[in-house]
């Protein structure tokens, strides 16, 4: 009897420590989440200074966003730009992580380089995009360098070609996030039992073999985490393409992401369509995360 009440007494602290999180979570996450879903069933926008709604219209907002193929185009754009940035990012990060965590390489100035690769992440995405916008302008420094060394005869208009804009967005995301990914992967690699590496080298495994047969399989949980967080971040891609294309997503909206599309509707404070788009994004994120999770989980089971 006495023992049980002690446990209860002790547990009490757990709940007390949870309160700040729960309160913040409820106010800033749960309530907005629920109201967003609620908003998606209402007609609610502003025309000039006149407010229309909120009027209950059921699924009309969903019908209107699915009535054109646009939504899928913007979803496609988002995924293309995310994949273009993420694939090189994970490769570079794996390589750097392997180098940094390999004690046999005896890299000098490790701390310096770890800091440097993380630095781009400290710059605001908007400022970074503005910088690229200026660098790659028609009369900007990149074009004048390329013309002076004779690669180009006339300035290449980076902002007016579908793939150059997408590549720039992907490149910026890569530069901003590869440091972060490297640090995560490195932490995962350092968590692997060193005796496994020793055993491998005793058995005569090459560095490549060690990497593919030991590091990668044991890194899987961290890799899944990195992939899912990056996917969620990628689906919410906004600031870089928004600033780079001045919000137009041009050429012909080929670099418009889902959130940029959502932002377009906020001009008229259209919370109905905005809510419907957010719910769509929520569902898509959930499905894709599950896919990644299942996919990686199955492979483990087969092994």
């Amino acid at each position: 009897m006495k023992k049980r009440s002690n446990v209860v007494k002790y547990n009490r602290w757990g709940y007390i420590f949870l309160i700040p999180f729960v309160v913040v979570y409820v106010i800033f996450q749960l309530v907005p989440l629920v109201t967003t879903v609620g908003n998606s069933f209402f007609e609610n926008y502003r025309s000039g200074l006149m407010q229309v709604g909120p009027n209950w219209i059921g699924l009309e907002n969903y019908k209107s966003i699915f009535s054109t193929p646009d939504l899928w185009q913007y979803f496609g754009n988002t995924m293309i730009m995310w994949v273009m940035g993420f694939v090189p990012q994970i490769l570079i990060s794996l390589l750097l992580g392997a180098w940094f965590s390999d004690p046999t390489l005896r890299l000098k100035c490790q701390r310096f380089f770890k800091t440097v690769i993380y630095l781009p992440n400290l710059i605001m995405a908007a400022a970074f995009a503005m910088l690229f916008f200026t660098l790659f302008a028609d009369t900007g420094p990149i074009n004048s360098i390329l013309m002076q060394i004779g690669v180009l005869d006339a300035p290449y208009s980076f902002m007016n070609h579908v793939w150059s804009v997408r590549t720039l967005v992907a490149l910026m995301n890569l530069l901003m996030w590869f440091g972060n990914t490297t640090i995560l992967l490195m932490a995962g690699m350092m968590g692997i039992d060193p005796s496994l590496f020793e055993a491998a080298s005793v058995d005569g495994a090459t560095a490549t073999q060690t990497f593919f047969k030991i590091t990668l399989p044991l890194l899987r949980p961290i890799l899944i985490y990195v992939m899912i967080t990056s996917l969620i971040g990628g689906l919410q891609m906004f600031d870089v393409p928004q600033i780079l294309t001045s919000g137009t997503g041009d050429p012909m909206r080929s670099s418009m992401t889902l959130i940029m599309y959502l932002n377009k509707h906020l001009y008229s404070h259209n919370y109905g369509i905005g809510g419907a788009l957010s719910v769509f994004l929520f569902v898509i994120t959930g499905i894709l995360s599950l896919v990644i999770f299942r996919f990686t989980d199955n492979r483990k089971a087969i092994k």
């Binding site: 949870l18 309160i19 749960l30 200074l49 006149m50 407010q51 008229s268 369509i273």
Partner: protein, 476 residues
């Protein structure tokens, strides 16, 4: 037991905050009912009118009587603030966003226009105007022509006659500047110190090379209409010059349309906008015009001789605000620009002062509007000190005939006669509250066509799409 208490507390907290969320929504709903609000203000307006005039009368006897002690001004850049600082008698600057007029504190609420931030901020504050404390109410706000109707055609902007400003007070202003801020019932609801008739600002060196003369009359002859303009553009391209950006010529076309952007809820593309698209495409293909966005770095290169740009299209504020005359190496610094009317009369920009309904500083607001937009001595001062084209027929006529109007950056040319003539010729019967969004999206969408990324029809489809996103409820 305690566990239960705590979990009950947590449940209460969850339920409570959710209810709080609902409560906020419900509270917002009545305020949002469009029918109720105008009715209330309409009912209040006649009652307020006699009070206001009485107050104004009392004001003359004892200035700054029972009025509020805080004057809130909403604007999007430093321009109006610097005009007030330099030219409003008795204004003292306290710091970047505060000043004093007598014993009234002036608070400047400056929000940049980028991404519509200025209007978003103004909208939210205006919608709360009725319930705000007297010192927090907006007293003055500024609007631009592209969206003036959005505010003027509501009860949030006060009619000038309710402030005690008569038609005779503003009779020296140009008619077009008043049409922009006249609501659908014929009430004048704003006033401007600028007349922004615009023309073609050309590079004199380039004119000598291309046309063989830099005299304004000769240049005007070479660009007198769009077909001559295109001929000159072709010559400019041969000499290695670019005429200007397609976005520079845009407003000249968009001001001379035969119908509104939106008619009966439908987006209509005027034949003259089609002309802009076709003429621009032709010139872009000949490399006689570029497609740079206004205000960008690429576009700004033409301010220096090595930018190889023949001209910009702009009004008087363009001289002072955009040509970087104080920087070494610019054409303006060397006095190398010239000015002529260009192919068609048009205007661009301008800032209107509106009084917000509910202001608690009515007599001060009245005085600011009268001093800054009708006082001829102040207007002349603005024109000579800031090279602004002021909204006064007599002051402009005065300047056109004297050396005060000669501008260094135009190589000593006096542009006021042309500017005054242009201001008389502006026709603004085709403004709509949707102009800002339509103009922005039309230029952005058509760039895809000019750059060869889309067919004309696809670019137009994207224009419709973008406008319908911005203004829910429109169709085409």
């Amino acid at each position: 037991m305690k566990k239960k208490v705590i979990s009950a507390l947590l449940c209460a907290a969850v339920a409570g905050s959710m209810l709080a969320g609902c409560g906020a929504q419900q509270a917002a709903a009545p305020a949002a009912e469009p029918a109720a609000a105008p009715a209330a203000t309409e009912a209040a307006a006649p009652a307020a009118e006699p009070a206001a005039t009485e107050e104004a009368a009392a004001e003359e006897a004892a200035p700054a009587g029972d009025e509020g002690k805080v004057l809130n001004i909403y604007c999007w850049n430093e321009e109006f603030k610097s005009r007030i600082t330099d030219h409003y008698p008795g204004y003292e600057e306290v710091d970047g966003t505060h000043g004093k007029m007598g014993d009234v504190d002036v608070v400047w609420n400056i929000t940049p226009s980028d991404d519509n931030a200025y209007q978003n901020n103004l909208d939210e504050t205006l919608l709360k105007q009725e319930s705000a404390a007297a010192d927090d109410k907006i007293d003055l706000f500024l609007v631009e022509a592209d969206y003036a109707l959005k505010y003027v055609d509501t009860d949030y902007a006060m009619a000038l006659k309710d402030l005690g400003i008569t038609d005779a007070d503003v009779s020296d202003q140009y008619e077009y500047t008043q049409k922009i801020v006249t609501d659908s019932n014929g009430n004048l609801k704003g006033s401007s110190w600028q007349a922004c008739s615009a023309g073609l600002i050309y590079n004199r060196e380039a004119a000598k090379e291309i046309i063989g003369s830099d005299d304004p009359a000769d240049v005007q002859a070479a660009v007198a209409d769009w077909s001559k303009y295109k001929e000159t553009a072709a010559k400019a391209a041969e000499k290695g010059y670019t005429m200007c950006s397609v976005n520079d010529t845009y407003r000249t076309y968009s001001n001379n349309v035969s119908g509104k952007w939106v008619q009966d809820g439908k987006i209509v593309i005027d034949p003259n906008m089609e002309n802009w698209v076709n003429d621009s495409m032709e010139l872009v293909e000949k490399k006689a015009e570029n497609t740079y966005d206004l205000w960008g770095d690429d576009w700004a290169k033409g301010k220096k001789p090595e930018g190889k740009i023949f001209c910009y299209f702009g009004p008087a504020w363009f001289f002072n605000f955009c040509l970087d005359a104080d920087q070494d190496g610019t054409i303006a610094n060397q006095g190398g620009w010239g000015f002529c009317e260009g192919p068609q009369a048009y205007y661009w920009g301008g800032t209107w002062i509106c009084a917000a309904t509910g202001t608690d500083n009515a007599s001060l607001v009245k005085d600011i509007i009268l001093t800054m937009t009708t006082d001829k001595a102040v207007l002349k001062e603005i024109a000579t000190a800031d090279a602004d084209c002021v909204n006064s027929k007599s002051v402009l006529a005065d300047l056109a005939g004297s050396d005060d109007g000669n501008l260094d950056l135009l190589g000593g040319q006096n542009p006021y006669a042309e500017l005054a003539k242009g201001a008389e010729g502006i026709d603004l019967s085709n403004l709509s509250p949707y102009d800002q969004g339509c103009n922005e999206e039309f230029q952005a969408s058509m760039k895809n066509y000019f750059e060869g990324n889309a067919s004309k029809d696809d670019a137009l489809a994207q224009f419709y799409k973008a406008v319908e996103e911005k203004y829910t409820g429109l169709s085409h």
